[in-house]
Amino acid sequence: MIKNCPATAGSRSRREKFKIVNFLFMSISVEEVKKIARLARIELTPEEEKRHAETISAVLDYMKILNEVGTTGVEPTFQVTGLQDVTRIDEAKDSQIVEELIAQMPKVKERELEVPGVFE
C-alpha cells in the first residue's frame, strides 16, 4: 500500500498543506485549557492552568513534525495484532468478590455505594 501513495509532503497541493499546517500550529491558550479541564473533570488551579498552557503548547508545537509525513491513502493502525471480533458467550458469572468491592467503596450506606445526586 505504501508504494502507491505519495510519500512526500511536497507533492500535496499548496492549499491543502496550508489548511493542515494551520491546524497544528495552534498553541493552546489558558481559556482552552480551562475548557479541556472541564471536559476532563479536573479542577486546576490558575497557576496550573497557566503552566499547562505553556507546556502543552510546546508539546503541540513539536507535533508539527508530523506535517512532513504524507499519509494520503494510508490506513490508520488502531492496534497491531490484526485481531477482530474476539468474542465470548454472554453469560453472567459470580465474581465472588462482593465483600472486597464493598470494602473499597469510599462511602457506603447499607451495603450500597453512596454518591452525591446526579441530577442536583
Binding site: 503541540l60 512532513e68 494510508v74 490508520p76 493502525t77 495484532t81 485481531l83 473499597q104
Partner: protein, 473 residues
C-alpha cells in the same frame, strides 16, 4: 553467599538441591530492603510477614517435589499492576488506599506456583514518565549513583533488581518503561510483543501499546519468566493465540549467520559519545561471534515520538476516566457530583498525569481528532511498515536503549519535552508492537550503566532473547 544476589537460575538450582530455603531467600531480600530502601525508595509497599508466610508455603511445595523454576523466589511487582489483597497505588494518591480484589493474570500465574510477592515498586504515576520523578511517593534513586534517576516509568522495579532487593521484577512497558530504567540501572528488561502477555490487571495507560514483562539480572532469567507468564488470556481479548516456544531452551540455538541490522537513524540522533561507543563495541562482538552485521534504514523513526505522544495521551485520557473517586480509591470532600470528580482528580493525580489527560482530551475532541489522533495512527502504520520491511532483510536490529545514561535528579524534571524525547529510541518498537529488550552493554567512565537494545519482529521474542544472551555473556 548473599542469597539476595542470586539470579532466578541460581536460586532455583539452590532451592532444588536443598542448599537453602525460600524463607532464607526471602529473609535475605528483606534484609537488603531494610538497609537500602530508605535511600533508594524502590518500594512503596513491603510485605514482611506476608512474604515470609508465602515463602513457608513455597518451601512446602518444593519439599513435596513440586513447583517450577519460579517457586519460592521473592519478586517485586510495579505498583501500577494489580495484586490481590496487596495495596496497589499506581504511585498516585488517588489510589493511596486501593487494595485490588484480584490479581493481574500474569501475577496470578506466578503466585499460583508459589512465587513470593515481596513488595510493590515505585514508578512514575500510572506509567507517566521516563525518570520516576512523577511518583507521588517520591523519586527513585539509581543504585549505581544516588544522585541520578533510576529511569522510568518502572524505576522502582529496575532499582529493586539492580540492588538485589529481590530476585526479579514484573513491570510494564508502554513506550520504554521497562527498557529505559533497565538500561539506567544495568539490568535486563524485556518488552514482549504487544498481545503476547495478558494486560488484564495492568492499570491501563494506552490500551494499544501497553505490555507487561520481566526485569531480571540475566537474559536467561527473562526467558524463564516469559515461559510462565506468556500466553492467551480469555480476560484480555488482545492476546494472540499463537503458541510460544520454550524460550530458555531456545537460547542455546545456533546463532552463526544471524543477520543483525544497525538502523542508521538511531545513531544520527545526537547520542552521548560513550553510549555510541559501548553499542558499537557490542556490534563488533556480535560480528566476531559469527553474526552478519548490516547497515539499514528505518526512515520514519524520527516521527515515532510525535505519533507516540498523541496516541498515548489520547488512549490514556480515556482509560484514566475510570479514576474518579466514586467506587474506589480516594474521594475528595465535595457536595456536588461534578466537584467530587474534579477535586478527587485534581488532588489525586500528579502534574504529568493531568498534562497527558489534557493533551489526550484535546487531541480527541471534535475538530482535532483527524489532525491529531487519526494522523498519528496513520504515521503508526508507516512506522510499523518500516519494521516489517526491514525484518525481511535482517533477523533483529541493534540500537542503544537511550541516547544517554542516567541523568541527574531534577535535571530534566521541569522540561516536559526533553523528558518525552528521552524515549526516542524505545518508542518506535512500542508504536509498532515489536518485542524489544534492553541488556547491559557496559558502563561509562563514571560507572553509569548503558543498555543496548535488541528489537525483533512481532512474536520474535526467541530471536531477541537469543541475541541479547550473546551480549549478556
Amino acid at each position: 553467599m548473599d542469597l539476595n544476589t542470586l539470579s532466578i537460575k541460581q536460586a532455583a538450582d539452590g532451592l532444588k538441591k536443598g542448599k537453602f530455603t525460600s524463607v532464607d531467600l526471602t529473609e535475605a531480600c528483606l534484609k537488603r530492603i531494610k538497609l537500602r530502601n530508605e535511600e533508594i525508595n524502590a518500594f512503596i509497599t513491603v510485605r514482611e510477614e506476608e512474604a515470609l508466610e508465602e515463602a513457608k508455603k513455597a518451601d512446602e511445595i518444593l519439599q513435596a517435589g513440586e513447583g517450577n523454576v519460579l517457586t519460592g523466589l521473592p519478586f517485586s511487582v510495579k505498583d501500577a499492576i494489580c495484586t490481590k489483597g496487596v495495596r496497589s497505588t499506581g504511585s498516585a494518591k488517588i489510589l493511596d488506599n486501593y487494595v485490588p480484589p484480584f490479581d493481574a493474570t500474569v501475577i496470578k500465574k506466578i503466585r499460583e506456583v508459589g512465587g513470593v510477592l515481596i513488595g510493590k515498586t515505585n514508578c512514575d504515576a500510572f506509567g507517566h514518565g521516563a525518570s520516576n520523578e512523577n511518583s507521588m511517593y517520591g523519586p527513585v534513586r539509581n543504585p549505581h549513583d544516588l544522585l541520578k534517576v533510576a529511569g522510568g516509568s518502572s524505576g522502582g522495579a529496575a532499582a529493586s533488581v539492580a540492588d538485589d532487593m529481590c530476585i526479579y521484577a514484573i513491570a510494564e512497558d508502554t513506550g520504554g518503561s521497562i527498557r529505559q530504567p533497565a538500561s539506567f540501572c544495568g539490568v535486563v528488561g524485556l518488552r514482549p510483543s504487544y498481545g503476547r502477555n495478558s494486560r488484564y490487571g495492568i492499570m491501563p495507560m494506552a490500551s494499544s501499546l501497553d505490555t507487561v514483562g520481566p526485569i531480571t539480572k540475566t537474559v536467561e532469567d527473562a526467558a524463564l519468566v516469559m515461559e510462565l507468564i506468556a500466553g492467551r488470556d480469555p480476560l484480555d481479548a488482545t492476546t494472540v493465540a499463537d503458541k510460544f516456544p520454550a524460550y530458555a531452551k531456545e537460547l542455546k540455538k545456533d546463532i552463526s549467520g544471524l543477520k543483525i541490522g544497525v538502523p542508521r537513524e538511531y545513531f544520527e540522533i545526537g547520542t552521548d559519545a560513550e553510549v555510541n561507543e559501548i553499542t558499537r563495541k557490542q556490534i563488533d562482538k556480535l560480528s566476531k561471534m559469527g553474526c552478519v552485521i548490516k547497515e539499514v534504514s528505518l526512515p520514519h523513526t524520527k516521527y515515532a515520538i510525535a505519533a507516540y505522544y498523541i496516541i498515548v495521551p489520547s488512549e490514556d485520557s480515556s482509560n484514566l476516566g475510570r479514576l474518579d473517586g466514586v467506587r474506589y480509591g480516594v474521594r475528595a470532600k465535595a457536595d456536588s457530583l461534578y466537584d467530587l470528580y474534579a477535586k478527587s482528580r485534581e488532588q489525586g493525580f500528579p502534574e504529568e498525569v493531568k498534562r497527558r489527560i489534557l493533551i489526550g482530551t484535546y487531541a480527541l475532541s471534535a475538530g482535532y481528532y483527524d489532525a491529531y489522533y487519526k494522523k498519528a495512527q496513520q504515521v503508526r502504520t508507516l512506522i510499523k511498515q518500516d519494521f516489517d520491511e526491514i525484518f525481511k532483510e535482517v533477523d533483529v536490529l541493534i540500537t542503544p536503549t537511550s541516547p544517554y545514561p542516567a541523568f541527574g535528579l531534577g535535571e530534566k524534571a521541569q522540561d516536559t519535552l526533553a523528558l518525552y524525547l528521552a524515549d526516542i529510541m524505545v518508542s518506535p518498537a512500542a508504536v509498532a508492537g515489536m518485542p524489544a529488550i534492553s541488556v547491559p552493554g557496559g558502563n561509562t567512565a563514571k560507572g553509569l550503566p548503558v543498555g543496548v537494545q535488541i528489537i525483533g519482529p512481532r512474536l520474535g521474542e526467541s530471536l531477541v532473547l537469543r541475541v541479547a544472551n550473546l551480549i549478556n555473556k
